[in-house]
Structures are given as structure tokens and as C-alpha cells.
């Protein structure tokens, strides 16, 4: 497959997944800000900017940090390259460039999503409208992934699409966990302590893991188990471990010439996420562990670009 085409497909899927994750982060933030404890309001508002690394960009465009300005900036701001709007636009542009290498259903899904988001007015995305909007973004992402899975020929286009989806998802889950954990549990000693139940539930819901937690642990919510679920639990489809199972599956099918370093790093990450023990991770520091993972995800992305996608 042409490197340029693979690159477009990879980024098409990454951007769609990124839009979904942004919607998840904003959805849970809106919830926490509206219904959560007021002493954490400021922290909760700041978290999405920290998670997506857009604090500076926000400061350039907005003076005060409110739920309205936050959503305006991260949901519909055309000038913010990380906004949902921009992600959906980029996903659609990438699809447009390769619409003959993907299925018409995939193209139509992304094109229709883009046409619709273009028509959404800012005033509508507040209060209940905001929740509706975030749910819609998630649905469109689910639809796109389902359409992709259900229609595209099993080959490199499929593999690079999956690679993009799961690398992006792993990155997002790690970021959400890192930032939220820090807010909720600044000191390691608190691991077993009293919990802001509502906040932890919200974190789990942001990655669709609340029911899974209940089903798998049949227990109260303990921070260490939340971390275990989102990092190591393969049965949890948004966990880092689950993402790397998928990433390694895709890489096994992709045949490249100088891709040993890609496959090695992906394999190392899978091994780390398979054989680690959550207690040990906590002893060494969850933040340090996640920071290390995030650096490796970035490195893996760079190696994928170099080995397959024609960019240096």
C-alpha cells in the first residue's frame, strides 16, 4: 500500500478517535462542574486543557476559564487544532484524500459527520445541549468504527486504521487517568482512603468503564482498582493493555522492510502492560509509570511514521 495512503488512513482514524475522546473528557467535565463539589471546580475545568496539552492555546483566546469558554474552545473552535470540530474536519479531509481506498460507507459516515458539525451553532452546545452534542460525537465515532470494521477489506487499509484508533485511544486513556488521578488523589498515602465517590464514578464513566468495574470487581470503588482496570485489564476495551493487544495484532499483519524498531517497541509495551503488577506500579509511582508510557506512545507513533508512512 502507498505510504501516503496509509498515512491518511492512519490519521483519519486517529482524528476520529481523538474527537470521541475529547467529547468524553468534556462530557464528564461538564457533569463534574455542574454537579460536583465547588472546591474542585477550578481543577476540574483545568483538567481537559492539561490532558490535551492546550492550556497555552486557551489562554491566548480566552480570559476567564468557565464551562462555556472551555467548551467553546475545545468543542467548536475552528482555530484550535485539538477541538472536536477540527478533529472531525481533519478526519474527513484525510478520508477525502483516500476515498477510493476506503469504502464508500466509511467516506459517507465521515462526510456526513463533518457536514453536520459544520451546521451546529455554538449557542446550542450548552447545558443539556452540550451533553447531547458529546453523545452525538461518541455515536458518530462508534458508527465510523463499526462501519470500518463491517465493510473494509481485511488488508493494510484496515490494519492502519486500527493502528491509528488504538494508539490514539491508549494515549487518551493514559492522559485522562494521569490527570484525574492527580486531582483526585494527590498523595499516594490516600490510596485506600475516603473517596469522592461521584468523582471516581465520573472518571470511570468518561471511558465507559463504570459498568465494567462493577461487573469485574463487584466491589466498592477503590482507586487502585480503577487504575488496574484502565491500565492492565485486557477485558476493558479502553485500557492500555487492550489497546496494545490490538496494536500488536495490526502490526503482525503489516509487512514492512525496516520496521523492527516499531514492532519491538509495541511488543515491549504489550509485555509491560501484561506482566506488570498494579501494586508495584503504585510503589514506583503511577504518574511516573504513565509518563513513561506516554513518552513511549509518542516514540511508537514517530517510528510508525518513519517505517511505513513516508515521513521523517
Amino acid at each position: 500500500m502507498l505510504s501516503r495512503v496509509a498515512d491518511r488512513i492512519f490519521w483519519m482514524s486517529r482524528q476520529m478517535e481523538r474527537a470521541e475522546n475529547m467529547a468524553r473528557i468534556l462530557g464528564v467535565t461538564a457533569n463534574l462542574v455542574l454537579f460536583g463539589a465547588s472546591d474542585r471546580r477550578e481543577e476540574n475545568l483545568r483538567a481537559p486543557l492539561t490532558i490535551t496539552g492546550t492550556s497555552e492555546g486557551f489562554a491566548e483566546r480566552h480570559q476567564s476559564l468557565t464551562l462555556e469558554t472551555l467548551i467553546a474552545f475545545l468543542a467548536l473552535d475552528e482555530a484550535n487544532p485539538s477541538s472536536i470540530y477540527s478533529c472531525l474536519r481533519d478526519a474527513r479531509d484525510n478520508a477525502h484524500a483516500v476515498r477510493w481506498q476506503i469504502t464508500s460507507e466509511m467516506w459517507e459516515t465521515l462526510n456526513a459527520t463533518w457536514l453536520e458539525v459544520r451546521g451546529i451553532r455554538r449557542e446550542r452546545v450548552i447545558g443539556a445541549g452540550a451533553t447531547q452534542f458529546f453523545d452525538w460525537v461518541k455515536e458518530r465515532s462508534h458508527l465510523f468504527r463499526g462501519v470500518t470494521y463491517g465493510t473494509i477489506v481485511r488488508g493494510e487499509a484496515f490494519d492502519f486504521s486500527r493502528l491509528g484508533t488504538f494508539l490514539e485511544r491508549a494515549d487518551n486513556t493514559a492522559r485522562i487517568l494521569d490527570v484525574k488521578y492527580h486531582i483526585l488523589l494527590p498523595a499516594v498515602e490516600d490510596v485506600g482512603g475516603a473517596l469522592d465517590y461521584y468523582q471516581w464514578t465520573a472518571l470511570l464513566r468518561s471511558v465507559s468503564a463504570f459498568e465494567t468495574y462493577r461487573a469485574l470487581y463487584r466491589d466498592q470503588i477503590f482507586p487502585i482498582k480503577v487504575a488496574e482496570l484502565l491500565v492492565l485489564e485486557r477485558r476493558m476495551p479502553r485500557s492500555l493493555a487492550a489497546c496494545f493487544v490490538e496494536i500488536n495484532h495490526s502490526l503482525e499483519r503489516i509487512e514492512g522492510q525496516h520496521d523492527h524498531s516499531v514492532k519491538r517497541l509495541a511488543g515491549e509495551l504489550l509485555a509491560r502492560l501484561t506482566h506488570s503488577d498494579i501494586e508495584e506500579i503504585f510503589q514506583a509511582g503511577l504518574h511516573e509509570f504513565l509518563t513513561g508510557c506516554l513518552a513511549d506512545f509518542t516514540e511508537l507513533g514517530n517510528r510508525i511514521q518513519r517505517a511505513y508512512l513516508g515521513t521523517v
Binding site: M1, L2, S3, R99, W100, Q101, S104, G256, G310
Partner: protein
Amino acid sequence: MQRKHYDEMHAADGAVRPHYRALADWLAATPAERVAEKRREADLLFHRVGITFAVYGDEQGAERLIPFDTIPRIIPLSEWQLLVRGLKQRVAALNRFLHDIYHGQEILKAGVIPAEQVLGNSAYQVAMLGLDLPHQVYSHIAGIDLIRHEDGNWYVLEDNLRTPSGVSYMLEDRKMMMRLFPELFEQQHVYPVEHYPALLLETLRSIGPHAMSEASVVVMTPGQYNSAYFEHAFLAQQMGVELVEGADLFVKDGYVYMRATGGRQRVDVIYRRVDDAFLDPLAFREDSLLGVPGLLSAYRAGNVSLANAIGTGVADDKSTYPYVPDMIRFYLGEEPLLANVPTWQCKRPEDFAYVSEHLAELVVKEVQGSGGYGMLIGPACTAAQVEAFRARLNANPTNYIAQPTLSLSTCPTFVERGIAPRHVDLRPFVLSGREVTLVPGGLTRVALGEGSLVVNSSQGGGTKDTWVVD
């Protein structure tokens, strides 16, 4: 502008021509509402599939749909066979001409065409001198524009030997007609055109540089913002080959490769839909981002084939057009089977004088224009428009040719208020490789405005399915 036209469906006395009878019966028997519904369905389908084209000058290359008319243009087989002979003859002579002007230049020595006319043409490529091409073919894909005059005879309006487009509409229009009106295809035998992509691939493989192995073919596009991008992608998909952009290719040690996820892959034949000037920034326009540095050297080394070849533009230039009948006589020793439209060359003083005097009656075209841009249709213009054009003509007569306003034949077409005659032309596609072939049909373009003679899609033209029937 009232004049008598040849109508494809009705004879002068109003009777339906025999090859249209089945369709006429069907039209009479089918409720208008059903046909209208089918037309809406067609619009919807074309939009969904995305058969659109970008119009130059539109903001951000906005996409538009080319109107599709559901009444086919029908040609009887016997007539088609005559056209085929004429087309093959013409394209053969044009390919001989191209080989000649880049080799011995016999036709120039014989004085059949003025040498400066050919050698001074901006489309003449010195880089092609002495280069031997497989089967000595230059224009592998040629689109020849034909019209039928009021006398019932066919005339060649122009030759398109560089990167003719429109074949995707021929194929999609047929697919659409078969989908919307399958009963029509049961009633009579319409010759198929669906194998065009297979013939194209065979033609491209036959010009590969290495006789031993099967050639690896790609389609090269300027990119998704090109007006014909849909067609480039469509043909690549139909042939099952890669659609590449310049940046996907590179030249190493005299060979062309594409950048692929599994490493580099050799490319033998490039069906390029990129103009000569943009092919290789080292050899032509250095500001081109669409091309492949070093492509010309690989081409000259015989390690890659290009379709069409570089430098074919000199043969389809409107200033060369008047000489094509003489070319046929010179190279083939035959009389042309397809007639040219009489043409005045404004660079000749006596022709220029005639054109100046009759400007309001003539069609005047820029020698190197295409797509219906920069032309004057005298009878359709106001006096002021004619005078404005005259100023441009006087400033640079060499740049223009003029032809009589031809009465393109008409074909019944769905318009706002029912069915009415609209003017049509025909572009068959001639494939030349080891053999010369064409599918029975072509692209029929229709000028949708009442009385309009401009069929170009960029100027509001539509398309029709073209049937060759027994």
C-alpha cells in the same frame, strides 16, 4: 438563431428513426411521473457516489454534479463501424506524425506542414527527439470530439491527445441507465462498454518497457483538488492499480519506484493525468510540486513508459488541426474517412481578413485553449461582446482559429418543461498500444441551455448514455 438541425431521433418529416423506435415506444408507454422519479433517483445516486467535478475558479474547488440526462443518444451499428474506421485511421496518422516530428521530420521536409508551425509550437518537446517508444505510439488514450452537421455527416471538431477526460462518465452513465431502466436493455441489444477499464489496462501493460515481465501500472493524478480527480481515482480503482501523486514516486538509479508501506516498489507504466510541464521539476517547470524529479531521465533511459507520451500536445493543437487530413494522406496514402470542419487560421492574412469581416457568424477559438474557455460563438453574442472579442483577436491574431458556426445535431433531452431537443457532440476514446481498440460508445455531451452549443461540463453541459445498437 433559427436554423435546421439534424435530429438524432427524428427525421426531417418528424418520423422516428428506426434505431430509436424501441425507445420512442417505451417513452410513450411509460408514465411521465415514473420517469421523473427515476431522474430524481439518478441525481441522488450520483451525489452519493460522489461523481462530481471541481470547477476552476469556484471557491475552494467546490464540487458540482454534472447533469445526467436519461434519454440516451443512439447510434446504429452500421454507422458506428464507419466511425471506428475513420477514428482508427485518424489516430494512426496522428501517432505517425508524432513519431515523425521527433525523428526524421519527413512531413516537414516534404513541406506538408510548415516547419516553424511544429518546431516553434510551445507543446513541442525537444526532450523527445530521437526517443523510441514501444510500438511507436505517443497518444495511447485519444479522445476525438465529433459532431454531426445538419447535412447528416460527421465532422471532427478536435483531437484530444494529451490527457482527455470524460470516460468515467461514459461508464457511470451506462451503469446508471442499466440500474434505472433495465427493461430498456432487455428490449434491444446495446453493445457493452463496461470492459473499457480492462482494455485500458491491457493497452497500458502492452507499452511496458520490459517485454519479459508483466508491467506494473499506476495512475498518476495531480491530486484531489484537480477537476478530474474523480475520474483518476475511478480508473485506478476499476483497473485495480495504485492511484499515485508525484510525491509517492521517486527515481533511483534510473528507475521509478513508489513509496509503499512495505518498502519501494518498481513502476513500469505511468498513466499520467498530469500535464507535461508539471511532470519533472528537473526538466520542465521547476516550481512543480506535482511531478517526480528525474522522471524524464528514467523515461529517456527507457525504464518507464508514460501514457500519454510527453510532447503529444503539438498534434492536437488547434493550429495543427487543419493539417490532419493532409497527414492522413501523407502517412497512410489514404483519403480521410472523417472530415475536418473548415478552419480559418487567423495567422494567415487572407484568413484573418475573412474572419474579421464575418466575426459575428463564426466560432473563434484560442489555438491553445481548452474546456470552452476563451472562445467566441459569434451568433450567440451581442454586438458589444463581439467587439470586445475583436480587440483581443486583433492584438494577437496568431493565437486564434475560426470555424463556421456548426449546427450540432440535437437529441431529445429532459428539460424543465418536458422533453425538448438539445445539441450534442460525441467523444469516443481510442486506445493505442500493441493494438488499436475502442469500446462501442463514448461520451455524449449535451448543451442543456435552449439553443446553446457549448457542451463543456465547466460551462453547464450535461452528459447522456451513448448506445450503439444493432
